[in-house]
């Protein structure tokens, strides 16, 4: 089972987090497939049609629809659905082996704990990689989310701050940030966060010094509920 769904940049993710289907806007049931189906319209049906409908209702399996988003930029942009409620060994392995410097859409706050574990695992992958060099080097990945996953990760850990959470016996991480919500971020916003890890090439004792630059840009939906 894959937790990732490749979606395109035209998906509307940047336009607002709660973009409903057209059917929801009109408070009616709609299908995303706008093809005409015999016998599916309003009004009376003939006996034969009703009989066929009953037969179909029994034999037709309910299958999930195909992704409604175009699959542009697949393998460049990953989504951790809010339905994923557990950071299990399978997901951990996928994140650990995921190609670096990608964008991860963590969606809403329903599964904050999973988002936080995804962030921590992916961040450590980047720090481990960038710290292999003795020269100045850098790696960046991006998250889109309502809450800042780094803050949730710290809250869930026994560490006091993000520096201690991400540091190890091989490197020391120092975090700088340009902006953050002092209170909980409202659901109406999306935080696009660039997580940049710079190996400064400097050493403190035997620890490599890693600068973590967290660049936050906040987007607010123009859609009104």
């Amino acid at each position: 089972m894959s937790y990732f769904k490749g979606i395109g940049r035209k998906s509307g993710s940047y336009k607002g987090r709660k973009l409903p289907l057209i059917g929801l806007l009109e408070n009616k049931k709609h299908t995303i497939f706008n093809e005409y189906t015999v016998g599916s319209g309003v009004g009376a049906s003939s006996v034969a049609t009703r009989r066929l409908k009953k037969q179909r209702a029994r034999i037709k399996k309910c299958t999930p629809p195909e992704p409604i988003y175009p699959e542009l930029d697949e393998n460049e942009y990953f989504e951790i659905s809010d339905d994923v409620n557990k950071f299990d060994a399978v997901l951990e392995e996928q994140i650990t082996n995921m190609e670096l410097e990608k964008t991860v859409d963590l969606k809403g706050t329903l599964n904050n704990d999973v988002d936080a574990d995804v962030f921590t695992t992916y961040a450590i992958s980047h720090i481990n990689e960038v710290s292999k060099s003795n020269d100045v080097s850098s790696l960046t990945f991006t998250t889109t989310s309502v809450a800042n996953p780094a803050n949730v990760a710290v809250d869930n850990s026994t560490e006091d701050n993000i520096d201690k959470l991400l540091s190890s016996s091989d490197y020391k991480v120092t975090t700088s940030i340009n902006y953050e919500y002092t209170d909980e971020a409202p659901e109406s916003i999306s935080q696009n966060i660039e997580h940049t890890f710079i190996n400064t090439g400097e050493i403190d004792g035997r620890l490599k010094l890693i600068e973590y630059i967290m660049t936050i840009t906040v987007f607010e939906t123009l859609l009104k509920n």
Binding site: L139, N161, I177, N178
Partner: protein
Amino acid sequence: MEFVSKNDTIDKNDKNDPSINLTNENDISNKLFYFSEISGSVLNVNLYLDKSQITENLNFDCLFPSDSKIEKIYIFNNEYPFYTNDGNDATENISYTKQSFSILIDNSNLNIFSHIKRFEKKVN
């Protein structure tokens, strides 16, 4: 953005008019230039570019480990004015400053836009 560490291009001999020179870079598009040697005592920096580097819809970033920022841009030794959005994201103890540039060409005129983001140490 592709990360590029640049220290050999900084001319700090004139403390009153420090300059960084990117004219020898083949391509500056979509690059993040990291100037680790520019300290907090150097507040305003001049940037030198070459005319051949200017392309349509050009974007690049500069990152300083200080409160420094580029105040003047010289292209082929001519100074070009630019529009700046000075974000004021952080107010105290600035650890990093990132300055993003977008250059748009309109009827052979250069329009240079700059957006500044400042960073401070995250304590918790």
